[in-house]
Amino acid sequence: MQVRRTILKGIAACYAASALLGSSAAAHSEPLSVQLSWLVDAGSIGEVVALQKGYFADRGLDVELLPGGPTANAIQELLGGTVDIAVGYAPQIMYAANNKLPIISFAATFQKAPLTFFSLGEKNIMSIKDWKGMRIGSAQSALPQVIAILDYNGLSLEDITFVQAQVPALLQDQVDVVGAWPTNTAALEPVTSNPGGYNTQSIWDNGLQFQSNYLIATKPTLDEKADLLAAYLEAVDAGWSFAADNPGEAIDILVAYAPALNPEKERAALDVMVSEYVFTDETMEYGFGNVSSERWQQTLDTYIAIGEIDSSMTHADVFDSRILDSVETTKR
């Protein structure tokens, strides 16, 4: 707290100084509140770096980052008008659009949805087909994804036993397979260091190629504040690029902002995120935050096939490319 305040004071002092020196700070900055998808951690390092290094302020934005939590509902916050931008997951967007709620995604920080299913080597689970008769654990919210990848592999929910579970359940042999984010290296440590090894099946490799940490806004916001959203995207891009170039310094900034974080654990997570999820072959070609309409359509088709959403849904209901088209994001 103290550290954070000191840093904030430092930043404020820098700004006061630069204003005195005559550099033109924005005459008035636009307030923009952002609901993060989870507590502040390495997954939102781009946003935190952009905030602390003044990338938002440089673009005339006065950004407030709001931490999420297990019961925070980003879509509801957007619709209620408490926030302007929410960071969220594909299923949230899909179900909201399916209910005709006026929200839409305009970029995605993660190029691949990380959800992956882990099993211990001893169980010899080499593919989803091996799940038959097994106990599959994950958060309740991931059940539609489980159904979708089962369907993709010619199985159904009747073939498995679904259990609401986390990583410890796997180690206690309460489940045979458990869903987790590979980026959460700290929680997965007992699995990845298992003497008998471990196997993984990701949703990405099993028919569900959606992205993650989408930037979401209401349709009216997208129409009326397109320039602000574009400026926000640019600043977050700069934040993530900085974190990719200077991971050590970025982790220092992150931990100063949220002192409860463990720098080593966050660094391990950040390395996985940067190399596997945020900057990929696709961002090399299309730039940071890229969203693929085709991928969205495939995902929607999969969910339509299992009867989760209305058959009339198309990618235009969940993604609007105008913001990404208007910004030149980092290609790396």
Binding site: M1, Q2, S33, Q35, W38, L39, V40, D41, E64, L66, P67, G68, G69, P70, T71, A72, N73, Q76, E77, G80, T82, V167, P168, L171, Q172, N184, A186, A187, P190, Y257, A258, P259, A260, L261, N262, K265
Partner: protein
């Protein structure tokens, strides 16, 4: 009655009164020692089980692991305790003051009670964890929703007890006040208020522990600091020693609150409430 008499006599001799006080003091010490011993036994058994069965730390940490975390993270824990204590204390004040005001209006106006008592019960039945995100949307992301959640948790126990307390007056006493042509305000200040105090304190002891819980739940809907935030963050990375250390801090807060209310009670209520005036 006999008790009061005997004290009076004992008070006369002076020495006997002192002896009685000393006995009470010794009794208190004995209670503390026994409680500490009980806790120590539980911790030892816990430590032995964790070590004997080599329970992995991500499941249950040994008490020594928790102790180490308590020491290592002491600054972090203290820093995060501040916002939670603030939220809990403000919620405690808000919830209880409001509950007592509502209780007074119930006691003096039957129509108000008939109208709003069911509403109060309804508020009590709302699962806090379900309403919390809605409060966040309504009140924003500052301290307000956390304080309100803590207040909501405190409100009902105090309301019920205070209403009962204001009514728990010896009817003969009310009659006497009538005979003395006391006004409603005088009856309230001199009779009902005192009758309600023991009930109110019983409720405050319940709500002082609950308001910490309320503040923690409030922090779960979105916070960068606080005990609730630390619990979530530690759970997410399976840092169980720190998780348990945080839980201990939360318990200590509630215990400190309880002790404070008990102390205030002992200062305020210097008569034997069982006497019923």
């Amino acid at each position: 009655m006999t008790h009061t008499n005997s004290t009076r006599f004992a008070g006369g001799s002076g020495f006997a009164g002192l002896r009685e006080r000393f006995a009470a003091f010794r009794g208190g010490i004995r209670g503390l020692v026994m409680a500490a011993l009980g806790l120590a036994i539980v911790l030892l058994v816990w430590q032995a089980i964790v070590r004997a069965f080599s329970v992995p730390v991500y499941l249950v940490p040994a008490p020594t692991d928790v102790l180490v975390a308590l020491y290592n993270d002491r600054i972090l824990l203290a820093q995060n305790a501040v916002p939670t204590i603030t939220e809990a204390a403000l919620g405690f004040l808000l919830g209880n003051i409001f509950a007592i005001l509502v209780a007074i209006s119930f006691v003096y106006n039957k129509i108000v009670e008939d109208l709003f008592y069911p509403v109060a019960i309804l508020i009590k039945t709302i699962p806090i964890i379900a309403i919390a995100p809605v409060l966040k949307i309504m009140l924003g992301n500052g301290i307000e929703p956390k304080v309100l959640i803590a207040a909501l948790i405190c409100f009902f126990p105090t309301l019920v007890n205070a209403v009962q307390g204001f009514r728990a007056v010896n009817p003969q006493l009310i009659e006497l006040m009538h005979v003395l042509s006391a006004s409603k305000t005088q009856v309230f200040r001199r009779v009902r208020f005192y009758a309600a105090l023991p009930y109110a304190f019983a409720a405050l002891k319940v709500s002082v522990t609950m308001c910490v819980l309320g503040a923690i739940v409030g922090e779960w809907i979105g916070a960068n600091t606080g005990i609730g935030y630390l619990i979530l963050q530690s759970m997410y990375v399976f840092d169980t020693p720190r998780l348990f250390a945080t839980i201990i801090v939360a318990s200590l807060m509630a215990i400190a609150g309880f002790a404070l209310v008990t102390w205030v009670e002992s200062r305020v209520i210097h008569w034997d409430p069982g006497e019923n005036f």
